[in-house]
Symmetry: C2
Amino acid sequence: MSLPLSEKERNPARSREAILDAGEALFAERGYEGTSLSDVGTLAGVSRGTPGYFFGSKAELYRAVLERCFSEVLEAVRAGRARALASAAEPEAILAGAVSDYFDFLAERPNFVRLIEWEALAGGTQLEEVPPHVAAAQEALSALRDELAMGPGMSQDAAHLLLSIISLCWFPLAHANTVLRALRIDPEDPAFLEQRKRHVIDLVLNGLRGRFVSAGATGENDHD
Amino acid sequence: MSLPLSEKERNPARSREAILDAGEALFAERGYEGTSLSDVGTLAGVSRGTPGYFFGSKAELYRAVLERCFSEVLEAVRAGRARALASAAEPEAILAGAVSDYFDFLAERPNFVRLIEWEALAGGTQLEEVPPHVAAAQEALSALRDELAMGPGMSQDAAHLLLSIISLCWFPLAHANTVLRALRIDPEDPAFLEQRKRHVIDLVLNGLRGRFVSAGATGENDHD
DNA sequence: ATTAACTTGCTGAACGTCAAGCAAGCCGAC
DNA sequence: GTCGGCTTGCTTGACGTTCAGCAAGTTAAT
């Protein structure tokens, strides 16, 4: 009979998790170079050397953090896709809902956004070796193609649309300290976030209707 | 009479410039923490200590790099605005041209994009103290408001539209190594860039027409 | 000769990694 | 049941490297 493991006992599983959590927080906050294993240890409540003991090296700890993060993302993509497939709503409403979900997903995961921003600057070399990353992107792309029932000729359009959705949702989160601040926008303001989400969805839907739908059936975004 | 200053003579102005150039390249490539003054000196063709001699400290060199970068940006914004004011074209065409120009501007300045990405992750604390940064954003916003002849009630819409334009142009450049690679897009491909630019302009124009313009006058983007 | 434009040597701090050490649990022998 | 040896979890000290900043030195221009 194993008791719930009091705070002070040995517990490798909990130590591992604590180190992963601390690593995620610190790598997201300060980047790979800006984070020392000593800091990770301190934040995790273990000693200087323990992160190295469990993960072998700083690089491997970093990769483990990325891996765990992207598994969560991939899961979310699959869940979203399943929900879309099961839904009886029309494509526009489904797309609007998906954009809304993605927007919220990112807004709730600043660590994820920042980790990828660091990776983008570092060249994305670590990211390539994290399988769920590519899988998540590819599955999202397939889902969008399927949902929009696009012919093979329009597959480029799906990629562009997906890229635009990601750009629009992502950028305000990544650049709260630069562009948004210069524009005197407070990214914490929930009113801004709501306006923003609506604006993004409108842009995407208008873009989707594009040149072949007249401007009659607008004005209702009945997602959420 | 001063000759064109041969390569080896002393020349503080040229050394300063060389150090600024090297600093810009290295800070953009590796970030503030990842760049050593020794590296800057080597790339600038001077010794280890010279960057410190001219700029006092690493932090001040960094700020000087940002300052020079943003002066260029501010100049470009003002030039663009002047061109728009002098143009007799209709607002849509002017907006399309401005988006196209901004798109190209960013694509030609990877250092600028990367410097700001690093700043975004560092909290933007240095950026705040670089006056041209805020000025450029504010002037771009005013220009957009003026151009679209927006009433005071729609000023939020102008900010959102500007933010969207920036997001759409910026993101593919910043995330060539992460999202684009996962989507199997080659960001170097000129065909992609052209498609992308068109897509962004279409999104923006469709978004602008929004709900009050019918889908008749589309299909021609006669900018460039 | 004096000043400005550099260069070189040095110092102290920070960091990743490795190796040694210690303590807590486990397990079979008795 | 307890004792001795072994493994595992974790800490601490040490080494080599890197770097920013300073100080002292050296060379070129005026």
